[in-house]
Subunit: 357 residues, 5 copies
Amino acid sequence: MTQERFRSVVEKRSQKSGLSPGTLVHIGEKKSEETKLSVLSYSRTEYDYKDVKGIEEIEIDESKVTWINIVGLHDTSLIEKIGKRFGLHPLLLEDIVNTSQRPKMEDYKDYLFIVMKMLHYFKEEDEVHSEQISIILGSNLIITFQEEEKDCFDNLRTRIRKKKGIVTQKKADYLTYSLMDAIVDDYFSILEEVGEDIEILEHEVINKPRDNTLQTLHELKREIIFLRRFIIPLRELARNFQNENTTLVGESTKLYFRDVYDHVTQILDTVEIYREMLSGILDLYLSLTNNKMNETMKVLTLISTIFIPLSFVVGVYGMNFKHMPELNWHLGYPLIWIIMITIATTFVTFFRRKGWV
Amino acid sequence: MTQERFRSVVEKRSQKSGLSPGTLVHIGEKKSEETKLSVLSYSRTEYDYKDVKGIEEIEIDESKVTWINIVGLHDTSLIEKIGKRFGLHPLLLEDIVNTSQRPKMEDYKDYLFIVMKMLHYFKEEDEVHSEQISIILGSNLIITFQEEEKDCFDNLRTRIRKKKGIVTQKKADYLTYSLMDAIVDDYFSILEEVGEDIEILEHEVINKPRDNTLQTLHELKREIIFLRRFIIPLRELARNFQNENTTLVGESTKLYFRDVYDHVTQILDTVEIYREMLSGILDLYLSLTNNKMNETMKVLTLISTIFIPLSFVVGVYGMNFKHMPELNWHLGYPLIWIIMITIATTFVTFFRRKGWV
Amino acid sequence: MTQERFRSVVEKRSQKSGLSPGTLVHIGEKKSEETKLSVLSYSRTEYDYKDVKGIEEIEIDESKVTWINIVGLHDTSLIEKIGKRFGLHPLLLEDIVNTSQRPKMEDYKDYLFIVMKMLHYFKEEDEVHSEQISIILGSNLIITFQEEEKDCFDNLRTRIRKKKGIVTQKKADYLTYSLMDAIVDDYFSILEEVGEDIEILEHEVINKPRDNTLQTLHELKREIIFLRRFIIPLRELARNFQNENTTLVGESTKLYFRDVYDHVTQILDTVEIYREMLSGILDLYLSLTNNKMNETMKVLTLISTIFIPLSFVVGVYGMNFKHMPELNWHLGYPLIWIIMITIATTFVTFFRRKGWV
Amino acid sequence: MTQERFRSVVEKRSQKSGLSPGTLVHIGEKKSEETKLSVLSYSRTEYDYKDVKGIEEIEIDESKVTWINIVGLHDTSLIEKIGKRFGLHPLLLEDIVNTSQRPKMEDYKDYLFIVMKMLHYFKEEDEVHSEQISIILGSNLIITFQEEEKDCFDNLRTRIRKKKGIVTQKKADYLTYSLMDAIVDDYFSILEEVGEDIEILEHEVINKPRDNTLQTLHELKREIIFLRRFIIPLRELARNFQNENTTLVGESTKLYFRDVYDHVTQILDTVEIYREMLSGILDLYLSLTNNKMNETMKVLTLISTIFIPLSFVVGVYGMNFKHMPELNWHLGYPLIWIIMITIATTFVTFFRRKGWV
Amino acid sequence: MTQERFRSVVEKRSQKSGLSPGTLVHIGEKKSEETKLSVLSYSRTEYDYKDVKGIEEIEIDESKVTWINIVGLHDTSLIEKIGKRFGLHPLLLEDIVNTSQRPKMEDYKDYLFIVMKMLHYFKEEDEVHSEQISIILGSNLIITFQEEEKDCFDNLRTRIRKKKGIVTQKKADYLTYSLMDAIVDDYFSILEEVGEDIEILEHEVINKPRDNTLQTLHELKREIIFLRRFIIPLRELARNFQNENTTLVGESTKLYFRDVYDHVTQILDTVEIYREMLSGILDLYLSLTNNKMNETMKVLTLISTIFIPLSFVVGVYGMNFKHMPELNWHLGYPLIWIIMITIATTFVTFFRRKGWV
């Protein structure tokens, strides 16, 4: 979620200029050393999981739901092979290896293609981990492509293995929903962190701004900008799913996608509220700073306007003219004190009345 | 309506990450100790009300309108039982116990599912009480789920008991409308409080800003942000009701839902006006503060530019040079006064003409 | 158009909370002491007008256009009687007596229901008079409900009596148009007043801002906010009229409603322009104030930076050290003058070059 | 394009209040003394032009395209006569004489009615000339109403006379297009002037703002506001033309109207860019002014914080206490100089390090 | 991408005023001296390329895809000849030679007409090169018009020649896609440059703003304004392509245009993010500057409020009154020091507590 991450992706993107469309070029950090393939298949009664070495080892049993997972995107030849085996469109393969995609859903008749961003917050490192995941939903088949092995699907895998929940009673469309649901659930934890930071910041601004308060505010604003960038297309994606006219998604599963849409809308609402709150906090910060400056100026004005005239008065009687009658008056000195106190009192009274000090 | 309330809800939300969709987890404060079930049924001529202990005791008489009310959402096993008994979708049950929902309406063919927020303003405590209410509208049956016993339906219950108004002549759809109408009516009282606070604030800003004026402004802004968050989806809900293509809502009752839509639109209009007013008041506050600072600066400048040069003059004749002819002039002292008065007068005149003071 | 008026309406609104929908409660100021009923009927050749005491006295001649006008909304029993006599929906009656309505049009099959706001500017009192008017358009029948007797339809009544214009050749739909046209025409005069105030304000800001300039600006902004609130739903109303699929409005009359829509759009355009102008004027005001403050600061800086060092110099030779060789130099005093003039000249030159003064 | 022009139009508008709809009242300046009628007719082979005195003299030859042009709108009886002769709707006639119209297109079945604003920039006077033109497009007939004789159609008339271009090979719909094209072309020249002014202004702000820079900025902003007001409805007009379902506009001519739409969109794009640029220039101006003020303040602070303490030091040794041992030290005077130089150097070093000066 | 480029185009645009529509006038800089024609044709097996002198030399083989490229737009007679030969609409020809077009796509039944902007970033010169390209897509035929010879299609030409990629297996619609893809790819490199500049700017603002930081910010803002101007219509263009109902674009090729749409959306997203970032950076800059000014003011206030009263005290005892008892006290001088130190300490303590310094 740092800007550096974002930038680097764009930079690599342009290295692709001039290449033939459909040429597979891995765009993004190489996050895992080797490519891993695993095949998970299940039905109401059966469960099978194995790591495979090559695409040739994969066997599809049409009666079960098969979930092929590929970890690591830099081995473009493997991805091309997968494309051939399952009849995937070249543009789709191109999108899989280009990790600068916007979240989107595309209907290729025989299969749906979904790109999403996994965002996972690691509390210990106070760091957000972002990863692109591509999902291909065929008939009774799901193929997923991840950048690295770490993902947010462990709970889901356990549920499938232990036949918990209804996922094993359903088809591949429900599995797709389960993946999306797991991804979206992780967004909430990030929002909570950001929300907490906003709260702390607000408290700081009202009570005692620190030197880097402004910078924290700026960084939170930027985080919100980047979060919105992922979430707005995600909502579009979730909406499209409900209206999608395909036999790949059962009517009863669409209710579940409506649920995902609800969650994403809630997330976007929260992001927008955070945005407005941050802009309100900036307004508050500036106004409070302004008020403090006013206070300071008033003090300066008060002191200056009282003592500068008095200094003039004492300066007058510090002059060395031969003929200055007042200097010889017996009560000259106490008189001058009375005059000066009168001047000072008058000024202060006058200023108070005007509300200047 | 405090931010703390809002935050805590989000926090618990993430505890659900990784669980199977459809798992019932109560998200939100536990606002009532025990769960209460009550059944109210009525027709044009009959009226019956009883508190029941368990779901088994409930008997449905199809010829009457039955309103089952459940207070307290933490007993998820009860809610699951209700779900089974009435054939409710698992996702719907999940939404009922998760009190961080956006207001929404969902059509599950056999029944409509409505989630709303009750907001009640307690004048004595100057506090807004927010509670989620879920309504299930079946054929001649309504099931409502509340967080706590306190609600805004007492008047409605009395009208049903006393057969006042037309509610007992109508079906369950009209009862749903009556519930929504009662909830929406309560929003007006909150708006009035906010509106009154804005008025007081505006008066304060124009006449005499206090130290915490800025903070009050900031808090009102935040309240508006949170209010909008509930009201915008509420308007969508009310609009959908009018266009809903279901036999559960009679054509003649739709006119009443149009009325609800009107009210919500009016509420949203008012919220938007409040928002613009607050932003106008902030502008005014900053400009007025700015003007006051200007005044102060002018005074400082006036005093400084008059007396600093004069102090220099008197300083000159306070020097101890042996050979300073002016010091020995007989009229040196009065002359220097004339010179100084001339300088001061010239400056003041010049500044006035320039509009600087 | 003052905020007080607006507020009081909202306050009364909440007194209705908890009442059965359809209960008639007069919300708003009681603007006329007694309720007045009048019946005006006309055809191409006939004209008849009479004030009636009660609803029973009204006779409807289907061959003529009948316009029943009710002034005063506090006698809810009379309004209920009218509702029964003409078969009006209870929600509609509720809306008539609640003067906090948004402008709207509703189709109740047998009749159309229109709510609008009359705004009349009284030049002498420099005051805007706002009144809610409800129009029911049935077949050859119009029923209007006003808050007080004063309205903007006198010219229209005269035209009907004198058979001027084409109104007497047309049906009730054209009469409805004539009423709306008269109301909308009055909005233009208010816009002119506001526009004139904006012009004066702009002139003031550019030439010589007065003490209350900021407040006037703020008040104009608020007036614009309140005007928009009436005009935006009014435009929606006028647009709906054109697309209304009802036999109550003839095809040829729709052209006239298109004309009303045009006028309202023009009014809204003007309001938006005023809004942008006011925001531009505020920008200008703040920038000009800022510039003036800059000027003041420059003067202060110029004077201070010239005389403070010089005062130091003269202070040095005001010291009373026994051994200060310069004091005994014969040309010490003129020399010090030369030094000081050099310092001052250098400073001024330097500052001018830097553009600081 | 001055605000005065705009205001005067609105003012007259309200004089119409209370009149019967369809009453012809000329709203706007009387820009030409007498009303002129001219008839131009042409076919592929023929060309005829004559000025006529009255409506009776006009003869229509159905086989030719006839263009009737009326200059001057104050003679409402003539316009009524034209309305009768050609069967024009009273509302349309009302719109023709009311020069405060928004640009619009209305379909009256037998003819289309178009209102536009001609804006012509006179380079010599640095002045924009605005005039309303109404076009009625019937079958093989065009009637145009202008406020004054000066227009932007001279080139078009010449092309018709000389049979240049394809206009004489086409029907009345193409002539309408030619008129609109000529009008829209003139908008570009105004945009260029405004654009040039913005460029000059930006240059001024960056290099050396003058006293009236702010005011120029404000005036340009206002000009943009007024331009948008004409162009936004114009784009709507042009879009409607393409989708218009009428036999009056041939399918092949619609391509030309698409071209007009393109131009208007381009104009609107430019206006929006100008708007954003102006707001950027204001930001820049304010920030630069702010920076300059900062510079000034730093100088003042530097000088004051160095010399005010030094003045205090010399003041100390200007005191006349009998017993001040330092005064009698032999090296007192040089020592005090060393102390003062040390103080000054320390201060300057410290400030530099802190980045304050 | 400089404003000058933009301006000059608009200026020439107005020189066209008054000319017959369809008159070819080259609007824009003359970027290439002579006009060049080249014809490239290919099928799965064949490849042919030749430069031709005139339009007469071009022979079309319907069985191959033919790509005619014209470089240089000032020879309008040539363009007219091409128009006649291929039956192109006069308005289309007009658009080709007018280089101030918005990107757009127009369907002329027999062919599609596409206008785009090539933007190429030259890293060495740190300069963006903008050029208008018009593409006519007929059946198995593409005609492209460029302003100068330099373009971004070299890689594409090589791929065709070497029969790399699938372009030679496809028809003219795929070639059109390849051209658009190449153009859009170049936008990414410009975005990267802008993004890098924004990063540097942000770093500068946070760490040490330079004198021209504000100006750089302003320039980047303007660049964003100009980029959006090209990209927003481009997205519209790409969207229209997908929904285009024409036999010229095959169903399978539409998937590729969807890909272009995706890229343009991604570009627009990035531009919007840059825009928000720039506005955030400006806020940050202003707030930081403001804070620094506050610091400076606090220092001034601190120094002044301590030393101005002390100077007054020493001034008092510099007066030359005959009768000033304190002057003769033996401990007068040390006493006055104690008093002054007490005053200074009190002030500093007081200010610290108030948080003013």
